[in-house]
């Protein structure tokens, strides 16, 4: 959308002005944005949480206008993106547009929310303002570039590939271009970060690729955490098949020097690399920080466990990786569950109805080779207004059957969130 058409939309988005077009039943696209008084929900972020929330507000009450602000034209799934590094999947197979969400009646605007005004109940989009009755913020994570010396200046060369997209493709290219005998270094930030098992799945995928394509190469994993954060025993068992992995726990990386192709750990160890994948420490997406939705830690957002309403600002709900305080991982499945629960809560609140008691669930598969997967599953309940875990269950080992279930899960949940 060009600046002028965006302005036109925002200017004419008062309900009366747009109602003219809507009532006439014809006419320009801006007519779609007619607002009914008191019934507009704005969603910031079209990832796992935001897309799910936008769709399910419409399902819960089709009379509520839903506007989704998402700068990217396409959604790229982080789950399964480690398979792009090993060449098992293409990035195209993980890329989806927002057309089906639009077909659900969600108004998708490819714009960036720049500021939230809680008192005025408006979202700033550039110089324009978008009023809301309830706001759902699902901004994902932002990287704390300043936590690693030299990283801020080298953002374009030091890849995180922790938001699936061009960096994923570029890291795969660098891995393929690395000479046999080269060293691939993967660094893992301290918890909490997006997708606890993700770095260990990535370890499997890179190691699998190297074992088959560059057998003289090595993968060094520098983990800021003392041990694997998730599915430790299952990953350790899988790694028995990959003698090319050198895992070093309690090795927090504090400095990167792309010129010397070297990282330095907190202990002062210097590690040379041919290809580096540095996953930086993380906090809530920037809009959550600028809107004062984060807590005293300045990193994450505390929310009500039943409605996901911010504990800091009324009428603003926060879902997904940006939240803290629930006993859940920062995963796509959890963000999808939070999006659905929050959507029903928001629709209920806008209709002065009691909010149903709903808890999230988490199904998390990790690929340990090109054809085998492991899984961890968590279910939850509400107890005393708080989310508490009912049970966590792990697969007893790795198998192709769980990989098939992983494919079924992905196909289902992509549809659940995007229409």
């Amino acid at each position: 959308m060009t600046q002028s058409t965006r302005r036109e939309f925002l200017r004419t988005s008062s309900w009366a002005g747009l109602g003219l077009f809507a009532a006439a039943g014809c006419a320009p696209k801006v007519a779609d944005f007619a607002q009914k008084p008191g019934r507009r929900v704005v969603v910031i972020g079209g990832g796992w949480g935001g897309a799910s929330a936008a769709k399910y507000v419409r399902l819960a009450d089709p009379s509520i206008e839903v506007i989704l602000l998402e700068p990217n034209k396409e959604f790229v799934s982080c789950p399964f993106s480690n398979l792009v590094l090993s060449g098992v999947r293409t990035i195209e197979s993980l890329t989806f547009n927002y057309d089906r969400l639009r077909a659900q009646g969600v108004k998708v605007l490819h714009e960036t929310a720049t500021m939230i005004e809680p008192e005025a109940r408006r979202v700033r989009v550039g110089n324009d303002a978008l009023p809301y009755d309830r706001l759902i913020v699902s901004p994902g994570v932002e990287f704390q570039w300043d936590q690693v010396e030299g990283l801020a200046a080298a953002q374009d060369r030091v890849l995180h590939a922790w938001k699936a997209g061009p960096q994923t493709v570029e890291l795969a290219r660098q891995l393929q271009a690395m000479p046999d005998g080269g060293v691939f270094v993967l660094t893992i930030p301290p918890a909490a970060y997006r997708c606890p098992p993700g770095p260990y799945e990535r370890t499997c995928q890179v190691a699998w690729y190297l074992k088959n394509s560059k057998p003289k190469s090595k993968l060094i994993v520098l983990d800021a955490n003392p041990n694997l954060v998730s599915k430790a025993a299952l990953f350790r068992a899988a790694w028995a098949n990959y003698p090319n992995i050198e895992y070093r726990g309690s090795n927090k990386v504090v400095k990167v020097d792309p010129g010397a192709r070297e990282v330095t750990t907190e202990l002062g160890d210097k590690v040379k690399y041919d290809v580096l994948n540095l996953i930086p420490p993380q906090r809530a997406g920037t809009i959550a920080v600028t809107a004062d939705l984060v807590g005293a830690d300045k990193r994450w957002c505390e929310v009500n466990h039943l409605t996901y309403e911010s504990v800091k600002h009324k009428n603003i709900h926060v879902i997904g990786d940006s939240t803290i305080g629930l006993p859940v991982p920062k995963s796509g499945n959890i963000a999808n569950a939070m999006g659905k629960i929050c959507a029903v809560a928001v629709a209920s609140l806008l209709n002065d109805k009691p909010v149903p008691t709903m808890a999230p669930g988490n199904t998390c598969y990790s690929w340990v080779s090109d054809r085998e997967a492991i899984a961890v599953v968590n279910s939850y309940k509400i107890e005393g207004d708080k989310v508490v875990q009912i049970e966590q269950k792990l697969t007893p080992g790795q198998s192709e059957a769980w990989a098939q279930n992983a494919v079924g899960w992905a196909n289902s949940i992509w549809q659940d969130m995007l229409g």
């Binding site: 109602g19 399902l59 569950a337 629709a347 209709n351 007893p396 279930n405 899960w409 659940d416």
Partner: protein, 195 residues
């Protein structure tokens, strides 16, 4: 212009919408299922069963067996316990009330359906020629489920890894042990195609 203004006024005074699809008992609690089983239980994937239109007795037995570990599944056991705690009767009634759309997943080998049709007579003794089953005998509906799901369940019966010791399942397990794995895939393809 006058007409338009009247329409606008009409829009403005219209009250909250009528009950939405999530207002029925059990619907909010069933949303956790939709990540894998699709909204309203309309699974579109190959391995997750369709829950839409499922008989309540069958849904409840499955949930109870998963929760008790009789149907060993690291995925379903935690969720089954959650469903029991959040109200299995309401959730069963919600899924039963959803109109079923048959699985869109086609078998890898298109000829499998015809081969399965020729071999399916052995299933019809219990499940009926229609494959719709018989609730009075605890026999479920096979039709329209994803082929991968049907195949996996038959293989679990064959290996006695689904509800071991369940008297009701003795006959199906005995039968499955006589069927080669390739034919199990054909039967799954056929029953998935039946409407």
């Amino acid at each position: 212009m006058r007409v338009t203004t009247s329409l606008l006024l009409l829009l403005a005074v219209a009250g909250p919408a009528a009950a939405g699809p999530l207002d029925t008992p059990g619907a909010p609690q069933a949303l956790v299922c939709s990540a894998c089983h699709g909204f309203g239980g309309q699974s579109r994937s190959n391995t997750m069963p369709i829950l839409a239109g499922i008989a309540p007795w069958y849904f409840k037995k499955a949930i109870q067996d998963y929760a008790a570990g009789k149907r060993p599944s690291p995925e379903m056991e935690p969720y089954a316990k959650m469903v029991l705690q959040s109200g299995v009767d309401d959730i069963a009634a919600y899924f039963a009330a959803q109109a079923r759309t048959a699985s869109p997943v086609k078998p890898d080998d298109p000829a499998a359906v015809e081969r399965g049709r020729a071999a399916a007579v052995q299933c019809t003794l219990c499940h009926g020629v229609s494959g719709k089953g018989d609730p009075s005998k605890g026999v479920p509906d096979l039709t329209g489920q994803p082929p991968g799901y049907l195949r996996n369940q038959m293989l679990l019966f064959k290996a006695d890894r689904r509800s071991p010791g369940d008297e009701q399942l003795k006959a199906v397990k005995t039968l499955m042990r006589t069927i080669p794995d390739e034919q199990i895939a054909d039967l799954a393809a056929y029953w998935s195609s039946v409407r």
